[in-house]
Symmetry: C2
Subunit: 244 residues, 2 copies
């Protein structure tokens, strides 16, 4: 490998830095169609098998570049830390977001699917991790969902977002949820419901109740002494149960 | 109810305030044997049925006291906010920690038990929530465990800590784990293992691997495409499966 060419960058007013910093929130990620991949393990795995287009690699002077083909920028420590929101102190990759297909509720249901109008990136990431682990066929992200490539979502998913079957589902209110299942303590007990071959499961924000899902069919995980389970835990139990 | 007497407090040098502030970390909670209960829902529920001794109630001038019998202190806003780490903006209760029984690994195993050497208060709280929900008979906290009455643990448990069957288990290395079960992707698949009547499950920190549990029996939750599940999700699946 030839010596890679490295550009230095030390001003927070630099347009490139301003662009990268915009990738720390959903608005910037959407506008630029780029996201930041961080975390030593995830970044090393990605470099072994780069499934997304690399826009550039960001390092500081105590880090070595991992690849030679693409734009490499060495940032001043304070600038780097501003982009390294998770505090990984390892090379950051700026990657291009691939096209995400669109879905509507009249699409044929394939296996077990999840509708995930979760606005919190950590909750969405944790759910996506379980969806991928249990072979969920489609994850429908509505306009209410956090951005799946938000740094906190990527982290909570332990990188599962990169392999997830994501779909852009539009506004939740445009979805016909009559044939979907939602978790609610007043629903039928999980073990009493015959395991379906195909099902769409809608997962809501914890504590938000059923706002918007009133038309769904309800299923409950039997518990004692607590009002509810953690939302990701409850959804994961249902996904595990129905995907096996 | 007669008008409660309310003391005002505006100095961060006040010994009472210094004591309360010490309850934001494990060291202070242990030393004082007190903890802060926060969150409107939890606090209101507690006041309906006070199962712990109340040391005092803390408010600001825009909050009304919820009880009249005990010490009530009105704090300056900035002082109150320092104690209200979760940002509940609701009355805080300072409560006495009840005696926690001790346990050793030679104790007879009762139903499904959990050994929880989790140092992260959020992870411990999330696990305790699932333990209580699934009727786990004993939760063994080792010296490595976070303090269960740490504000972040209480929050992650959604208050389940208050009802949890907690035991002080000493150092993990003093536990004989040969008859315990631990989760590991190399273990027997969950559905292949006959559901035991009694079992001790040891739950480790995510990403820490099996350090310390090498002697246990291993069980795995089958997954696809991901290296592992979230640790609380995986443990909850096992607890649900074996407690039903």
């Amino acid at each position: 490998m030839s010596q890679p060419k490295i550009d230095s960058l030390s001003s927070s007013g630099n347009p490139k830095f301003i662009l990268w910093r915009s990738l720390l929130n959903a608005k910037g990620i959407k506008k630029e169609n780029l996201f930041i991949l961080s975390g030593e393990k995830l970044v090393r795995e990605f470099i072994q098998n780069p499934t997304y287009k690399i826009s550039c690699e960001l390092i500081t002077k105590d880090l070595f570049p991992l690849q030679a083909q693409k734009n490499i920028f060495e940032l001043d420590k304070t600038l780097f830390q501003e982009l390294d929101v998770i505090g990984t102190r390892f090379n950051l990759l700026v990657l291009e977001i691939p096209e995400i297909k669109e879905s509507v509720s009249s699409d044929k249901i394939e296996g077990i699917e999840v509708v995930a109008p979760l606005g919190d990136p950590k909750n969405l990431g944790a759910l996506i991790r379980s969806c991928v682990a249990f072979g969920i066929r489609k994850i429908h992200l509505t306009d209410e969902s956090a951005h799946p490539f938000h740094p906190q979502c990527l982290k909570a998913s332990a990188g599962a977002v990169l392999k997830a079957p994501l779909y852009k589902a539009g506004l939740l209110k445009n979805w016909d949820l009559k044939t979907s299942w939602a978790l609610d303590s007043k629903g039928q007990e999980l073990e009493q419901v015959p395991k379906p071959d195909t099902a769409r499961i809608i997962v809501g924000e914890e504590g938000r109740g059923l706002a918007g899902f009133e038309q769904s069919q309800f299923i409950s995980i039997p518990t004692q002494n607590v009002e509810s389970l953690n939302a990701t835990v409850a959804a994961s139990l249902l996904l595990y149960s129905w995907s096996h």
